[in-house]
Amino acid sequence: MPDVKLGDGATAKLFWGTGTMVAVIQLDSNATIAEETLPADRFLFVLKGSVDQLIDGKMTTLIALDREAPDGTHSGTPKTEFVYLEKGAKSALKAGAQGAKLLEIYSPFRMDYLQKAGITELPAEFADITNPMAANVEANKVYDLYDFHLTELATGAYSRLISGKNTQLSFISMEPNSTFPHHIHPEEQMMFVMRGGCEEILLDGKQKMEVDDVVRIPSNFVHGAEIGDLGCDALDIFWPARPDYLEKEKSRLQALNAIIPAGSMPSLIVDGSKTKPTLTFSEGPKWLNGKVYFSNMYFDQNWTADPKKSSIVELDPTGAYKNISEGKMQTNGLYPYKNGNLIVCDMIGHRIVEMTTKGEVVKVLVDKFDGKGIDGPNDIITDAKGGFYFTDPQFTMEPEKSQPGRAVYYVTPDGKVNRLTEPNEFAMPNGILLSPDGKTLYINNCYDNESWYPVNSEKDNFIWAYDVQEDGSIKNGRAFAKLFLTGNVLDRKGRSTSADGMAIDKQGNLYVSTYYGVQIFNNKGEYVGMINLPSFPVSLCFGGADMKTLFIVSYSKVYKIDTNMEGFVQYL
């Protein structure tokens, strides 16, 4: 498609269907588009850089952020801000210093864009549909696309749906190697590939689609897709909007809002990069006697640990916090234990200890299995009998490990240690939970299928469930819930979700910290929704007077969010 000059420093690629026009605009640094009255409803998405947009008479900055590769000191989740302006609204634009890549979607068309594209035979005006639907966004309000929840449209296809009155945008992610058989719908579709690729089935043939490719599928045209091994993220633009999709979104939000109230967003209660004591990599929060206790692990950018710079923190729900132990050990998962104490994974010290809430070690509970030291106990959960389970993904500083592989262990109430999984059966067993009835053990797999990680397994991006036997052993392992993978991981064919700390409520809904955000599943393992955060969540716990608040730790920050669910904690 040829570039169309929209103004000084502003070029666009234009394509349009029967009722919707798309402009992919490149703005140079500080380029401007003068104030104008919009001739049609318009969505404006910032795909790269930043832009000041006139909204309701005020210039407002919209930005795009790429996902940042995480290291030991920071991470960043992506952001794609957008605004919906209705026909007749005043608009003006100024690109940020780094310029901007914008996506504009109009319905119906802009006459001047068509003229600039060299189209000469134009009607006097463009008619709109006569029975518009209700938009699912408010005009003049800036949104982040990632705050929109993924709705399952078909098996293996999840989408963030943005609807205007006359057109609908479906930001869809289709799983690697999934297939969408021949189908039709009466709405016209323009599909614009944004990541990965597919073989698009068009009638009785197939055409390869890669990033930036576009295809128009007319009303009731037989089509489908075979998704490639990287998966495929695409923007599907439907004209008019699809009511069936809006119904699916409604069902999804009903299920989610039964757990997370509509409008409930995470709020920052601690930014430990600005307050003292400094927080670096927060982990393993647990609620005990009105406080949140968590580990403040120190890592440098290359994930080199330092117990001397680490601590264990007591956090008041108001946000006030203090160290109860510092410079002695680099701990990870915690859990309430007997006598009002904590059971603590001393990850870098290769042991599990019982500790008072003043930070005093009462005793060492485990430091050996099969006559050799354990490696790096990571997360831990007690059962009602007084035994406990822990994961050991061998995330320790020594190149030589004591045990033959990553594993999950059970320590009986009388202190006998049993290994429950074969060494390296999980590439990286990390978060661990018991169901409220104690009958099911959940284990997640943090990293898998990565060139930079030494172990591969068959556990991939799943939470695994096991039946718990009377003696604490487990059987009948099965893939319980499939965690979403981020685009950067899919691009390298990895299966790492960074699944880490998990929480569970009394109904058995699971809350899982991952690269993508907090992923929520019901007690059948079905996806419910996601909590989006500025950096990836590492762990979380229920707390608060009614046990309905989720406290989420992410590097130096602690967030909280209200829920409708009462968290479950096994207090002995």
């Binding site: 394509f15 119906p108 719908h185 323009m190 068009l202 128009r216 009731n220």
Partner: protein, 70 residues
């Protein structure tokens, strides 16, 4: 043309034929892919639905139907 014209059989047939073809064009535009599409709809047991309230006149897309474009 007056209403009386339809009393004449020849005119009536012509007018009827025109109306039928006009209505077919309006609700079921035929493209070169339509025959294959119809066949596949039958083969895959798909249900065609129509949408009301669309503009009478549509502007031609710059994307050829079902042709992937970069």
């Amino acid at each position: 043309m007056t209403f009386n014209a339809v009393k004449k059989p020849m005119y009536a047939i012509v007018i009827f034929g025109f109306l039928v073809s006009f209505l077919q064009c309006k609700t079921e535009p035929k493209y070169e892919w339509s025959a294959v599409n119809d066949q596949l709809i039958k083969e895959h047991n798909l249900t065609v639905r129509e949408i009301t309230g669309l503009p009478e006149q549509v502007f031609e897309s710059n994307l050829e139907a079902a042709q992937v474009k970069i």
